[in-house]
Symmetry: C2
Subunit: 316 residues, 2 copies
Amino acid sequence: MQQPDVTLETIQSARERIVGWTRRTPVLENETLNALAGAQLYFKCENFQEGGAFKARGATNAVFALSAAELRAGVVTHSSGNHGAAVARAARLRGVRARIVMPENSSRAKLEAVRRYGGEVLLCEPTLAAREALAAQLVRDSGAAFIHPYDDPRVIAGQGTIALELLEDVPDLDWLLLPVGGGGLASGVAVAAKAMRPAMRLVGIEPIGADDAQRSFASGTLSRPQQPSTIADGLRGALSARTFELIRRHLDDIVTVSDEAIVRAMRTLWQHLKIIVEASAAVSYAAVFEHQLDVSGARVGIILTGGNVDLDELPW
Amino acid sequence: MQQPDVTLETIQSARERIVGWTRRTPVLENETLNALAGAQLYFKCENFQEGGAFKARGATNAVFALSAAELRAGVVTHSSGNHGAAVARAARLRGVRARIVMPENSSRAKLEAVRRYGGEVLLCEPTLAAREALAAQLVRDSGAAFIHPYDDPRVIAGQGTIALELLEDVPDLDWLLLPVGGGGLASGVAVAAKAMRPAMRLVGIEPIGADDAQRSFASGTLSRPQQPSTIADGLRGALSARTFELIRRHLDDIVTVSDEAIVRAMRTLWQHLKIIVEASAAVSYAAVFEHQLDVSGARVGIILTGGNVDLDELPW
């Protein structure tokens, strides 16, 4: 197993590295949602992050941690979502080439986002094996630096910077709820949050249709993912050995929510917060809204991870 | 003609009166929208205001300016939109009765918003004459205090507080763009903005299908409204003598935008700012997006007035 070399110190360094290149996102509160929950909810709005998702943090930290020599042949990643655009943006800020391997069935919006930031798209068959193979070949042939979407301590540390900002704005949280996909955000935030506020209850939230993290957490051994099926397309990824180890060590629990609950939560957030969040970003609030966690009277941090939605294809 | 007794001082007093009962709303910026416009755009987000619209400012100022004796019989208003809910909310904060006259064809969402804040809804025929007659009768019979949606110096001063906050956050604006309906927001903001920053260019924006303010402004005499027809339902109202006088004196120009431009602008704001704004709130950005104003290289303030949208009835 690889060493999970992500610490509060590497996350603090990540913050210094990305400040100015990413946004400090706001924390929203809402009277109506508090009344519905019987709790004080604090929404950390990564939908307002550069590129519309938290991925800018990890990608920017990884690209800016590399030396000019290491970046000579540019960067490579594979992504079906927001990470590809975030890597392209960070590479452009450093003035280097970015090649993004994407499945050929990627949405037009996702392809356009990568190209808008100057990334070169390389299409492949829509399987994880094909993505990994093509990315590995590019790295081998060109000497480019590879930046994995989540199985990378620099990416994880970048995502962890969310916790530093949130706990500065709301120091006395009782709970912090984290969406879990590949585990980059959950593990980075958990490392920082447990170090800064050990008494806070840290709970990962997963769609029922992509519950590999919950099964792994419950059994204590990394489960192989089954065919994921959920509207929350950002949470279909599977934990790596590294992210599993960090999550196993730092999270208190993982709970799952149904796709129906996710859609209801997404719509309720749009209606009352007046902001656009994607389905993957609504899972934590879904767990509160459906009373799957006993948070009554507590102060609850909820990370809204992104807002990249096809406005012609709303799920209600 | 009534005296337009709204000044920078009454607006500053309004701000002291409503602070704590309303929100200081954020100003958003966006790289992509700036690039599209060739200008620096500063979006003042009243969709995040209490009740989802700027109306909370004027209604709260009007209700809190009344003495306990004046409030003994409660308050009355007529409204088909956000003002009714804002008056109900302010009355509840003062612990007094609020009766809101609404047309019988009001949307369920609008009726529910009033009732959620404890307001009593009285339905009437969907004409302005019927609304005014029923409200006048309630005032006559009960001695309640009447709070007009915009033809009231306390309401206008409350809306003007937007300018104080915006110019604190962004002092060096070159332009400020204001939606014009009944003229409460436009006149209050214009009074404060011209007093604080006389060199700034103040432009009102109206839907083509409800252009009474532009016609009045161009001719110098108050035009009678024709049958308004626009998707921007918050801007169907007609100027009063009072709001016309303030607008005539303080605005530099009024331009109009088509419903098609309003919908394109609304969608573009959703897509890039990741926030929900209603059609009426998108008119100012529509004028920029369609290049109807020569703002290139300038710093432009845009007031996004509200975000109350039926999520099942999007206009695209």
